[in-house]
Symmetry: C2
Subunit: 138 residues, 2 copies
DNA sequence: TCAACAGTTTAGAACTATTATAATGTAGAC
DNA sequence: GTCTACATTATAATAGTTCTAAACTGTTGA
């Protein structure tokens, strides 16, 4: 409960009303030193473990989208039947383990900066994302 | 019709029966010097333009998945409500125009090789994909 | 040649992730 | 406290994809 005032400030300062659902979701997503990846379904499970007051699915979607829009979450581009989100919003890339269906951060220091020697007229680069697919070595 | 024997051989040699549906889809996907990106929906539209014999949606899905499995198509990792495929299976990367919702090839020569200085024990790298998101410059 | 079989196609149902709807609830300003 | 705009909610709707089971067809080998 102590840390909640931090989330309340954070929400309010980004123009989001600090509702109890949003604060609870903040606690689950950000009250940890380790960042992690999740799907909406993962988050719903975490919520039901963490609290007795259930949060409706629509609110979970709304909140995740709002947080993504504010830059508190990143969506990871990957071929999947569901969306993956990342609480690590710093610049970094990912391994995707196709056997385990698991996403693993690549520390940005472990990737040489990606140089793109071409541009599209009238467009600016918004992000550069590297996805390294790995599989079991035989 | 002349080129069909080529597709028939290609299909047969990869263990796929050369049915008329698969041959027709080969013609649409590969009978062009330019490679392109498409969604299942795009492909269905191309098919109905190209032929009077309609191919059922399930067959289109089955065929695209079979071709992907055989390496004749690549799926492009991107956050989208639908899957994007690429007839260009050579190593290359993509721009994604978030305003136009459009994928554009980046010639592999225009990207410095991506160096990943870390590995996951027991795993080998299968692919390295770079997605450069761009948006309108203001 | 043609029977038999395994692989393929098909229409439509089922499934799943996500978004929309519209009524109810609530935070914050006055 | 009251009011209003924003949030939450249950549920319906939507859309992409996969499943099902019956009909069809390419291939093999007698």
């Amino acid at each position: 409960m102590l840390n909640n005032s931090h989330y309340i400030d954070k929400l309010r300062s980004s123009g989001l009303r600090p509702t109890k659902q949003r604060i609870k979701i903040c606690e689950i997503l950000f009250n940890t030193d380790k960042t992690f990846h999740f799907t909406i379904n993962d988050l719903v499970k975490k919520i039901s473990k963490a609290t007795n007051d259930k949060i409706s699915l629509a609110t979970v979607y709304n909140t995740v989208h709002a947080f993504k829009k504010k830059g508190y979450l990143k969506e990871i581009p990957i071929n999947s039947d569901q969306s993956y989100f990342d609480t690590n919003t710093s610049h970094h890339h990912h391994f995707y383990d196709e056997n385990q269906k698991d996403l693993i951060d690549i520390d940005d220091a472990d990737v040489e900066p990606v140089k793109i020697n071409t541009r599209i007229p009238g467009k600016k680069i918004k992000s550069v994302e590297v996805l390294v697919k790995v599989e079991d070595a035989e």
